[in-house]
Symmetry: C2
Subunit: 388 residues, 2 copies
Amino acid sequence: MNSKLKVIKDPPSKDELSNRLEKVRLLMEEENLDYYVVFDPINIYYLTNFAFYVHERPFILVIPKKGIPKMVIPLLEKGHFKLRAISDLEFIHYYEFPAPEGENWFDSYRKLLENNARVGIESTMPMGIAEKTLGKIIVSDIVDKVRLIKSDYEIGRSVHACRVANKGHKKLLKICRPDVMLFTIFQEVSQVMMTKIIQDIPNVNHYATSTLGAVWPPSMSHDPHIVPNVFQKMEEGGPHVSIIQIQVDGYGVELERTFFLGFIPDEARKPFEVMFKARALAYDLAKPGTIMSEIDKKVRKFIYDKGYGDYIIHRTGHGFGITNHEAPYIAEGYDHKLEPGMLISIEPGIYIPGLGGFRHSDTVLVTKDGNTKLTKAPEELEDVIIPL
Amino acid sequence: MNSKLKVIKDPPSKDELSNRLEKVRLLMEEENLDYYVVFDPINIYYLTNFAFYVHERPFILVIPKKGIPKMVIPLLEKGHFKLRAISDLEFIHYYEFPAPEGENWFDSYRKLLENNARVGIESTMPMGIAEKTLGKIIVSDIVDKVRLIKSDYEIGRSVHACRVANKGHKKLLKICRPDVMLFTIFQEVSQVMMTKIIQDIPNVNHYATSTLGAVWPPSMSHDPHIVPNVFQKMEEGGPHVSIIQIQVDGYGVELERTFFLGFIPDEARKPFEVMFKARALAYDLAKPGTIMSEIDKKVRKFIYDKGYGDYIIHRTGHGFGITNHEAPYIAEGYDHKLEPGMLISIEPGIYIPGLGGFRHSDTVLVTKDGNTKLTKAPEELEDVIIPL
């Protein structure tokens, strides 16, 4: 990992993808696997640069321990696949789902494996695919494991995605005023981000791109996973919580802030301060070598000790990569060490029904010595009280 | 099924959802299942009205053969779940993914099943969930089977979704002119549809709503699954193919047309005519009692006999329901009978590299006597040559 943070907007090189495959093969060797079968679209994208929606027609990547990986795709996707896949692959197409006898996806798929082979699969593989898989099946998420540590290229792409998030958030704070509808914010912020995305990456892959820019007003900010009514309006005071969650041409990041319009209610000062200090503690702890569950445990203890333990409803953070929600997890129960090149959120939160939610979230790179925030937006209390 | 087609925009009643559950239980009885476990978010939405994204935190619905179904959800979704779920359910929350020992999703999940029970699961269930499932596992897609035949309520919702599609398509044809960018069309058409959606259903569920309005210009209309560059422009002539694919508060439909700007190139006349007649044949055949694979076989034969067999790249149609791509399939290999209350696309296509694609697609209800198109847009050649 290079310490200089460049913005990268180009598609991955063949070498970048070969390196990823090489890492998968090292883990295959460790587990003595003859084949690894990749079904999860996220993992296929990671290894090939080819993104797609799965309806009922399966796409399956079969990696033998040696030789060129083979990909089973529906006929309808041949052109799309040739245009976007970058890695060295042989592809085999089947006609349709379903198809006349002998022309189904599993007819092609089963030819690529052997009965007495050791075949690794993902824990996300659907039963219906696993049932058609030949060989001795071993469930092992080795692509997910490789994805944990980012290459310089991936970091560069994430830095770019964060620039998009920063721009969206700046717009969001600019147009947030009492009585502005959630729908307006959603539309305007998404548009700013999408415009930057297509300007920066004209040939962006829309299958690997999404933009969410929203605000949870005080009446619902205590419930971060609710679906708001878009006609709901901003109000004076707070806490409001902003949410930017995006995937930019295959790279997912997020940026979230607790903020106030005009003034901060007195009863919001203490929970804001506790959240802010819990967050500072998490940043202090987020260093290579620290066990992630320990960070969560200490951060939760801090919040408990300040009297807000009943208002914790989620872990301290999660990973980013292709998606904006993936391993590693800064969570009790996740007893692995942080390593340089991991990309995580740091977002301890306090959620008080009747008062609101308190959470700042950033996309943070774990470095050799500690961590660096890739997203940027006001943080300190005086900077998140927006003057009216 | 009522023959009068009403527009319905309201959420489902408890009775509607109980009827769905009752049908699932009838199939459970046929297969002698003690429990059926639902993991697919689409099926959970169908049975509960609760929609969500699955990241790594599982949501699992366990239906016992008698008594109230139980749903395992993450703590973070408690408020969201209470707000949207309509059916009678008990819910059990777990703390997080991952979580301290004893507080993980599988700790809650495993308490709901027994070792010696017969437990039905979906073919889409991920291996990692199946591995934690107690009992004798039987893979059987019974919720998908129930979803095949629509209730009057579902038809009314789909009729509404088609009105949104019709409006979007009208706008699309209105703004399609040579040199207009794909991005403009995408944005304007999506906006018209989204505006109608939130006007009609202010409390729309955004987790179950999406709008795609796009045009494939002649240079790429032969390749319907490619991802276009949004800066690409409309051209004089054609064939262009329009694509409206939407999910409106949980109901998916589509509307697609082959059209021409200003004039039709001579070499496009014959393939258009063959597509048009193949489509008429499919409509003639689409009646209750007909085997779906037979329709596809006859339609393909018609296109083959006219000399375009090499340019068929997909089946005649697929089903709609919650999604805009699901069973049943009008496809060779799918040897089931059409039944009243099924909702399908009829869209035989011809795709000629260098010339373009030819496909009209509609959302079509199978009725007692035949079928009714729910979507509406110009069809005849003279109506799809847009004067400039």
